[in-house]
Symmetry: C2
Subunit: 408 residues, 2 copies
């Protein structure tokens, strides 16, 4: 077993970034259910799109050379031999001197090699006169013009977007292979926690917030979540819950049980696993110093602080992008802007602080302001638009400084 000392924010980020992605299995899904999943295979179009020559316009399919003599002064007469609506199979092959009506999107009959728009024609019974001469291929969409058969249309590891569903539909794909989602078990620990089913709160008890917020956030990051409930802070119950998490899931996330208070059993339980490698135990940040990241065999375990503000900050700052990477989802890291600080902000030397901030518009300009309540207040995080980072050796961020704001 290997213990690491408290590490810095950038060390933790680097360490997490180096963890090899999980090996996720594959599953075949109906295309309708695949939006937001990750493709596990390259996809080549099984057909030409379109797979037949089709008309771009309502008009007449002709042999182009028949129309060469036509001009504004002199029309050319053609014999109408067929009507082809969109979706229909042409019945006749066009011979010299003949034409067929074609609707927009309809198949071009054999023999024809161009379309004259209906606006440039006049029809009397089965005779169509045109004053327009057209070159071969005019208003014809060729076979495979849009997507040739065999073309690589979507790449392995891409997130399935609305556009991709459109492309795959056009090629007639109705089932596709995607990765299974990483499975994450979620445990809340702490004797103070009660579930919202309990209507009367005793003195000392608080409602469990972390598991609800983490569950939705993990689902939005591409994971499948198994909530194992609120676990009382005893060695035995916590060990059973972690055993369960390790057996059914790829990653187990606990919140609570990391501090050095008398009733925190998570480190003790984890130390009991023979093949555990505790890679991080403590990060020099505020809020949320207690933090454990460990590997047990192929499974991963995170222990977040119990305080909601600390737990959720730690999750958003370190864990969410890690989960997104495991799930093949786009990272949140890029979701940031630079803004001027609207008032002086103080910070503690020796701790990398993630300061929750609000964005307000002052005289037409967006500026950032610190949230005044502390990490003990649950509403701190929920009233914030995002956070700024204050380095370990900074004690003051001056009004007027420009900082990067990361959104929650």
């Amino acid at each position: 077993m290997k213990f690491l000392k408290t590490i810095s924010v950038s060390e933790l980020k680097t360490l997490l970034f180096k963890i090899t992605p999980l090996v996720l299995g594959e599953v075949k899904l109906p295309l309708d259910d695949a939006f937001g999943r990750i493709l596990s295979r390259d996809i080549e179009s099984p057909i030409d799109v379109p797979h037949f020559r089709k008309s771009r316009m309502d008009g007449y399919a002709v042999i182009a050379s028949d129309t060469f003599p036509a001009s504004e002064d002199k029309s050319v007469d053609l014999v109408l031999v067929d009507h082809v609506q969109a979706g229909a199979v042409p019945k006749k092959e066009i011979q010299k001197g003949q034409c067929a009506y074609v609707a927009t999107g309809a198949a071009i009959p054999e023999g024809a090699d161009a379309v004259v728009m209906v606006e440039f024609t006049e029809r009397t019974d089965n005779i169509v006169s045109t004053t327009q001469s057209v070159t071969p291929d005019t208003h014809i969409v060729k076979v495979g013009h849009d997507i040739p058969k065999g073309k690589l249309i979507c790449k392995k590891n891409e997130l399935i977007s609305v556009s991709m569903v459109g492309l795959l539909s056009s090629c007639g794909m109705d089932e596709i292979w995607v990765y299974k989602k990483p499975k994450i078990s979620l445990i809340s620990t702490g004797n103070e926690l009660v579930s919202s089913e309990i209507k009367h709160l005793d003195i000392g008890k608080i409602y469990d917030i972390n598991s609800r917020v983490l569950k939705i956030s993990l689902q939005n990051a591409g994971a499948e979540v198994e909530y194992l409930g609120i676990v009382k802070d005893s060695f035995e119950t916590l060990k059973n819950a972690i055993d369960h998490g390790l057996s059914c899931c790829d990653i187990t996330i606990l919140s609570g049980g990391t501090s050095k208070g008398e009733g925190d059993f998570a480190p003790q339980v984890l130390e009991g696993y023979q093949d555990i490698e505790i890679m991080v135990h403590g990060v020099r940040i505020k809020p949320g110093k207690p933090f454990i990241f460990a590997r047990i065999g192929l499974k991963l375990v995170f222990v977040l602080p119990g305080y909601p503000t600390s737990a959720l900050s730690c999750y958003y700052i370190f864990v969410e992008d890690f989960i997104r990477r495991m799930a093949g989802y786009p990272l949140r890291d890029k979701n940031s802007i630079s803004l001027e600080v609207g008032e002086r902000i103080y910070s503690t030397i020796g701790r990398h602080e993630f300061k929750p901030v609000k964005i307000d518009v002052i005289e037409g300009q967006k500026k950032v302001f610190p949230i005044q309540t502390g990490s003990e207040a649950i509403s701190t995080l929920f009233n914030a638009d995002g956070y700024i980072e204050i380095e370990e050796l900074e004690s003051i961020v001056e009004k007027g400084d420009v900082r990067t704001v990361y959104f929650f």
Copy 2:
């Protein structure tokens, strides 16, 4: 019955914006299922958060005045009478000269009015010595400090975010009232369309793309979608499908059947409804001129063009924000940036064009370029990052012009 002539883009946007939102019913949901829904009632906190005085630190709950004589040179001794862990009920009321251990988050015993951090104390058996004098309230989180009972915490008509789930959890809410989603029936029309279950495509046939893409897009806009399938282009079958849509849903969306070709029955079928008001029939845009918006009693009907590029452009430009407004969702309209045009773009006078564009980085600067394939190509829309608008009377957008790019 009232027919309107072809209208401009801004007239259509104004008209749609003036339509009164649907009256959606309410439904009570478990909080875990409410993410992404719209609150149908104001919510006041049913409890104080916290609902008991709690400690911000690991330390000793004391009577502040007992510590006033303490200083670095002179410690004050207090008798330890209780240990209060987080989640536990204090067993003793603190009397003068006494103290109780309190963990972070634990309840403060009656009688005590401040906490001395454990770092400023020394303990020998049941005697705690402190060199720190503290004022009343030090390190104590008061009842209702975070959220006072009765405070309005979430407002009717707000979208339920992750933060809101956190706030509601902290107040112990486990079921909340949300609006029902608007119900939308989706019909694809056209004899050329086949479903992806069919593996061999006959000449003239194409796979249905619109319904798949529209279904996901409508779901993402907050709607519940009932897909009524591909309907052959005949008066009877189309009338049956529209009747079905009107009976089960708030809004019916057809794609296909709007042009003046011989096989388009949607306008004929709609004209047959006694109480129909056809509010729009045709918009001066490219691509996608054919477009119908009608009201039948309390129900609404949209008919989009059949060509996928046209249908989906029309949907994104006009219909999606309308649906979002009906569903109470944030509008997409704001999702835009201004960029320089990287090459000259031509447009047709007399048609407001929505030109699909790609964003490329040229010498470190993001610029927009037109997509070269036309509206007949399905991939046009799916390769685009967004679109720019070209007004009816503009024929050219010059390289170097700055335009607003709207994202799909």
